[in-house]
């Protein structure tokens, strides 16, 4: 995972509340086997007219937002389905940071696994950013080390973030590797609990790996 330390980029505004992950990546694109290439389908039903022609009504299709890498969003961003295709698409489209007043739980988690920084700001701060983003070419710097969002006209918003998540993102750490450092703890837990008759004997070995699926 690419570390996130500090990023400066063009701002793209998406002024809607409760944007769900079905809108980010509709169902028909959940059948692929890779994590790459979803940028093309991000916000598919809003973004394209029939025949995959860009819909001029969709805000991020405006030429002035081409190349945007900082996304302004509204409350409860990323609600609904757990599909990680949503942050994959956001990253692949080119966004490195999201600024919103709140996020849905699973989506928020998924962002950190993909090197996307979801910054939480107040509604008032978001209103101000949406207003400033009306100016063409508006850029923001998102600094995770300092925990501030700044622009070149003196705006400076600090933000809170869990220190552990911040550290993982700053260093681009592999979560699994991090957990496996505690392998001995896991083994100890398993030695103590996996034999527990109540919790675990229920896995009936007779059902395991039957050669004929009709008899599963």
């Amino acid at each position: 995972m690419e570390p996130f330390i500090k990023h400066t980029g063009l701002v793209g505004p998406l002024d809607r509340v409760n944007v769900d992950t079905d809108q980010m990546v509709p169902k028909q694109f959940l059948k692929f086997l890779t994590r790459e290439g979803y940028g093309r389908v991000l916000f598919y039903d809003w973004r394209y007219l029939p025949g995959e022609k860009p819909n001029p009504e969709f805000v991020l299709n405006q030429p002035r937002y081409k190349g945007a890498s900082v996304l302004l969003a509204r409350a409860n961003f990323g609600c609904g389905s757990s599909r990680e295709h949503a942050p994959w698409a956001i990253l692949d489209y080119g966004f490195r940071a999201i600024l919103a007043p709140s996020y849905a739980d699973i989506f928020y988690n998924n962002c950190f696994k993909n090197g996307i920084l979801p910054v939480t700001l107040s509604n008032e701060q978001m209103d101000e950013l949406f207003k400033r983003a009306e100016k063409e070419g508006y850029r923001l710097t998102v600094d995770l080390e300092q925990q501030v969002v700044t622009d070149d006209s003196g705006l400076r918003y600090s933000f809170e973030i869990d220190p552990f998540r911040r550290d993982c993102l700053l260093r681009g750490l592999d979560d699994i590797g991090l957990t496996l450092v505690h392998d001995q703890h896991i083994s100890n837990f398993e030695n103590k609990n996996l034999k527990h008759p109540v919790m675990y004997d229920a896995v009936d070995v007779k059902f395991h790996k039957h050669p004929n699926p009709q008899h599963n």
């Binding site: 079905d22 552990f164 599963n216």
Partner: protein
């Protein structure tokens, strides 16, 4: 020891490691996977040269993209076929138990986990699917995860987690006739909003919840995620134990009694503290119908489509305006005047045997409206299908003009060819009415199985309480 909640008991029993300033490492008892969100996790595992740590605690099923028609025919959707083959290959390679599309135990992952007894009280259960919250009905801690976390669980059988806050949601009194668990949860979401539960785990309690069957409790926990909460739970009780006894993966004989004694001890202690609470009175609840593009945009069947101008918050006003445009609805229209094109009875929310029985009772001896384009019943699992057929429910549905299908996620998500066409309106027993959820441009109204069945007969929404054959408590 201080009084603890069910959530706290499970959390403490699964803590593998705690460190200052770090999330807790918790052990995962059951990992459920399906073809939709797992291929990239296995690919990641392979790329890193890692193995599945506990293959016997992982269970796989094909559900999202499977056809609900004749499954013996070749799969024509090349992408879906790719998913099925990848899942079969990954399970084979790693020794994970797979219920493939031909298994007699196949079905929607959140239907088969409980019905096979894979799901049990006190467990931690995860799946790459947000409706994993369903399993909380058994007094388990169950929640949806992303693909990176699937890979994490495959490799370590653990997850790093931040502890959630807890909210007690109490439904007092007796469930009125014609009002179901679906209406309970829609009323809860209507009250708190779709982000009202963010950061929380809910525990449902109160006389009306205690009076629900396991099927009803699963419906409530299933849609907990639609209120933004991480998980929903119900403390296990006699209803839970009676449901579990004799199921394939549940301990038997003396072991079952040992298990029950343990499960009983998991229930939230009297006087345990919650961070927040909400009380609803069952006698004030009614059949619910969603009118907008998220499950919080919901009202009672006797109400009207709200006027966006009636919302105080400008953000809500704009969202409601946008929703009404998408839904093709006018403010002030009585809900009962909204006609539907298709009816879908299915999904991990409402496709269990009790749901099908309730719907069958409503349609028995009647026929779907001639204006209806399609009425679909998709059992949640092949076991449910067989059980329903044994009871003759398939015949009742067919004679009433419904199509009777094989098990899968079907028109809830439309990843197979059961899709709601653009501009058409559905009465659906599923869980999400997001734009395009059932098909691009499709307009979804979420309702209970009885309400969907009655809408199929009349061609528009009706108050099921006016019908003699609406079952339910007094």
């Amino acid at each position: 020891m201080a009084a603890r909640t069910l959530y706290e008991k499970i959390w403490e029993a699964h803590t593998v490691r705690e460190g200052p300033g770090q999330p807790t490492l918790i052990y995962i008892d059951r990992h459920l996977i399906h073809e939709g969100t797992s291929p990239q996790a296995f690919a990641g595992l392979k790329a890193a040269g890692r193995k599945v740590r506990q293959p016997q605690l992982t269970f796989a099923v094909m559900d999202h993209s499977v056809s609900t028609k004749n499954r013996l025919l070749p799969v024509l959707d090349a992408d879906a076929l790719g998913q099925f083959e990848a899942l079969a290959r990954n399970c084979e390679e790693h020794g994970v138990h797979l219920f493939d599309m031909h298994s007699k135990n196949q079905g929607i992952v959140h239907i088969i986990g409980p019905e096979l007894g894979i799901t049990q009280p006190g467990q931690t259960i995860v799946c790459g699917d947000s409706h994993t919250s369903t399993h909380g009905a058994f007094g388990a801690l169950a929640f949806g995860i992303g693909t990176s976390e699937i890979e994490h669980v495959l490799a370590t059988q653990c997850l790093t987690q931040f502890k959630s806050k807890t909210m007690k949601i109490e439904i007092r009194g007796k469930r009125p006739r014609g009002v179901t668990a679906k209406d309970f949860i829609l009323a809860v979401i209507g009250k708190i909003g779709i982000a009202g539960g963010t950061g929380y785990v809910f525990e449902y309690t109160g006389e009306a919840v205690r009076g629900l069957s396991m099927e009803g409790r699963m419906t409530m926990c299933n849609m907990t995620i639609e209120g933004g909460a991480r998980a929903g739970m119900v403390s296990p009780d006699e209803t839970t134990f009676a449901y579990l006894e004799g199921r394939p993966f549940v301990p038997r004989g003396r072991d079952f009694q040992v298990a029950v004694d343990h499960w009983r001890s998991l229930a939230t202690d009297p006087g345990a503290k919650f961070d927040d609470s909400l009380v609803l009175n069952a006698n004030e609840l009614a059949p619910m119908v969603t009118w907008g593009t998220n499950p919080g945009m919901v009202t009672q069947v006797t109400d009207r489509v709200p006027d966006p101008a009636s919302f105080n918050d400008p953000v809500d006003r704009e969202a409601a305006t946008r929703a009404l445009v998408y839904m093709g609805l006018k403010a002030g229209t009585p809900i009962e005047d909204i006609s539907v094109d298709r009816v879908f009875i299915g999904s991990c929310t409402n496709s269990r045997i009790e749901d099908l029985r309730a719907a069958a009772k409503v349609v028995a001896g009647k026929h779907v409206s001639k204006d209806l384009k399609q009425a679909l019943v998709v059992p949640g699992s092949r076991r449910v299908k067989v059980e329903a057929e044994t009871e003759g429910l398939d015949k009742i549905f067919r004679e009433a003009g419904f199509e009777w299908r094989d098990a899968g996620c079907s028109m809830c998500i439309g990843m197979n060819d059961d899709v709601l066409p653009s501009g058409e309106r559905s009465a659906s027993t599923s869980n999400r009415n997001f734009e395009g959820r059932q098909g691009k441009g499709g307009r979804t109204h979420l309702v209970s199985p009885m309400m969907a069945a009655a809408a199929a007969i009349e061609g528009h929404f009706v108050d099921i309480r006016d019908w003699k054959n609406a079952d339910g408590a007094e």
